[in-house]
Amino acid sequence: MEPNYTNIEQLIGGLKHEDARNLRISKIFQGLMAVMTPLYFIFFLIILISDGQPLKSLGFLFFSLGFLTFAIIFRKLYKEYKSIDYGVPTIEMLSKAAKRYEFWQRKTRLVLIPAILVSIGVGFSLQDALPFPDIKQRFLVIVIGYMITLFFAFMVGYWKWRVRQKPLRDKALALLKEIEG
């Protein structure tokens, strides 16, 4: 019987197009991080040497480190996305899916590293923006403000996980229980 359900050439074209698009997005993002990391490091050096503002310059160093760690994590996540394999035994596929859709997993914790680095960077680099005389007070206000924003972003992420990924995880776990039971 000929495969009359689908035009195979058209399907291959579409799949290749999607592969190319994903690769392009990944490359653009990694390219961006590869530019931002040294750029902010150069800012750190320039401000440190010419302006004599060590705290402000330190902010740029933290930004640079934040971009670098984010690039590394993104690369890892992209590799993980690319490694999804439907050709493994069902039990293995379901176990991997349940693990992939866990909320508090290693990659969630890893994402916190660049977020905290950028938060410290914001704290140092926006020193002049607040009227408080005490440096510690200014730093704390900025970091706490940033952390509150981060908390809201975290809650949005959690809500999205509950709606989209938790049902998939629950389904995978239920199927695993059924197979192994």
Binding site: Y5, T6, Y86, P89, I91, M93, L175
Partner: protein
């Protein structure tokens, strides 16, 4: 390299399209859903092709992708997967191992009864039944699902017994 992937993909689809279509038919009575699932299986074959190392037979690999896609078929609520059994003596033989019961099921009304009973099975049991209907050995089914062969044997024996009891009280 990309050309090689195209050629390998086309060859796999050509060699296995019947197999994939049958799996799609088991799971979806509706032609439109069969078509969607067929397309989704091909997409997953494409995505997984780079990782195929030939450790298992290509047919086992295809069955794995088909069953795994069926279990995670995005367009469907998995609990509602409906199986369709044809009035095919070979298929009924694989499923029931009972001549008298097979003759009975060849009648339209009884076939419907069989269909209803199968659709009340759990989604995993349906997946196992679809592989039995394909004529796979216990070893091959174990390779597809990832269970041990004795475990598969026990599960399939239990499903068949359950069906026989319900159809022949």
């Amino acid at each position: 390299m990309k050309e090689d992937k195209d050629i390998a993909f086309k060859q796999i689809v050509e060699d296995n399209s019947d197999r994939i279509m049958r799996i799609c038919r088991y799971y979806n009575p509706n032609a439109e859903d069969q078509k969607d699932m067929y397309q989704e299986i091909l997409v997953n074959v494409w995505k997984s092709l780079d990782k195929f190392r030939g450790d298992s037979a290509i047919s086992t690999w295809i069955y794995r992708i088909a069953v795994n896609t069926a279990l995670s078929f995005s367009g469907k609520t998995f609990r509602n997967l409906k199986m369709r059994i044809d009035k095919d003596p070979n298929q009924l033989n694989l499923l029931l191992d009972d001549d008298a019961l097979e003759q009975k099921m060849m009648q339209e009304t009884h076939l419907e009864e069989l269909q209803t009973q199968i659709n009340q099975l759990s989604v995993i049991d349906k997946a196992l039944i679809s592989l039995v209907l394909e004529g796979l050995s216990m070893r091959e089914i174990a390779d597809v699902i990832g269970l041990t062969e004795p475990n598969v044997r026990v599960k399939i024996h239990r499903i068949k017994d359950q069906l026989k009891q319900q159809l022949n009280p």
